[in-house]
């Protein structure tokens, strides 16, 4: 195999694994929101939903690693290893690749904290996990801007589908934040609910607190 062909193979591999990573990441974000909202996937117990969220994220990281390493290894374009983690220092497409580095860094933080989540303070884990809402859009912009792949054809359709799914889930999540009773008003709200005759049995489930 000539050098150019090998390089092209690596380059294609990077683009392909990039697309797969994006799709997996989209699924992970949606699943994370489903867990947060105590939603159910038909037929699956709750621990399976969290398990799926975690396992898919590990797969996403795997594909992401291949995506990054093949991009570095390939000589068709020059992407140093440093440029994959330090944003905006690449000689090839510094801006778009820089965004990729940003989202990779954020993902690394989310990943590491999640691996040790039962050993670090709850608040610290939560704070870092919120970065997911930042890393996803950055990853999407990186994907669309880095190569023309996603800008037309069925890949564009796929990208739009993923984006729509995440956006819809995010709106669902946002609604919970907006409509949730602020914590210092929970008791007032619970007393009102009880007085309003809803004391006689189980309230509608699925709202988290209060019930």
């Amino acid at each position: 195999m000539s050098g150019i062909t090998a390089s092209t193979a690596l380059w294609y591999a990077s683009r392909a694994t990039g697309v797969i990573s994006l799709v997996l990441l989209s699924a992970v974000v949606v699943l994370g929101i489903v867990v947060n909202r105590q939603g159910r996937l038909p037929g699956l117990p709750r621990f399976a939903v969290t398990g799926l969220h975690r396992n898919l994220s590990l797969f996403a990281v795997l594909f992401l690693a291949v995506h990054v390493l093949t991009a570095v290894a390939d000589s068709y374009v020059s992407v140093s290893l440093a440029a994959t983690i330090i944003p905006f220092v690449s000689s090839y497409e510094p801006f778009w690749l820089g965004l990729g580095a940003v989202s990779l860094d954020l993902l690394a933080a989310v990943l590491v904290t999640s691996l040790v989540r039962s050993r670090i303070p709850r608040r610290a884990w939560r704070a870092v996990h919120w970065l997911s809402y930042g890393l996803y859009p950055v990853a999407v912009v990186h994907s669309i801007g880095s190569s023309a792949d996603l800008q037309s054809g069925w890949l564009l359709a796929l990208t739009v589908f993923c984006l729509t799914a995440v956006a819809a889930a995010a709106v669902w999540r946002l609604r919970r934040s907006i409509t949730a009773v602020p914590r210092f008003r929970r008791v007032v709200s619970a007393l009102d609910d009880a007085a309003g005759g809803r004391a006689a049995g189980r309230q509608a489930a699925g709202q988290g607190r209060p019930r």
Partner: protein, 67 residues
């Protein structure tokens, strides 16, 4: 080594994974919050208990080293 599975009731928002992972040790009350036995965890359930601690979305479970 006696370990007790305890729930932090402030962190708990009633996801209910603990009751799914440890049905013979934890159950949910009518409001969705867990009722967990205060006895030391039997050795055969330790692995599931550790999983529940790691998997709880609210990080509301802990295994304490017993007295």
């Amino acid at each position: 080594m006696n370990q007790q599975l305890r729930v932090n009731p402030i962190a708990c928002t009633g996801h209910g994974l603990c009751a799914e992972l440890l049905p013979e040790w934890a159950s949910l009350d009518e409001w969705g919050y867990p009722i967990i036995s205060a006895e030391p965890i039997p050795p055969r359930l330790r692995k599931a208990a550790r999983r529940a601690v790691t998997d709880c979305p609210a990080l509301a479970l802990l295994l304490t080293d017993g007295r």
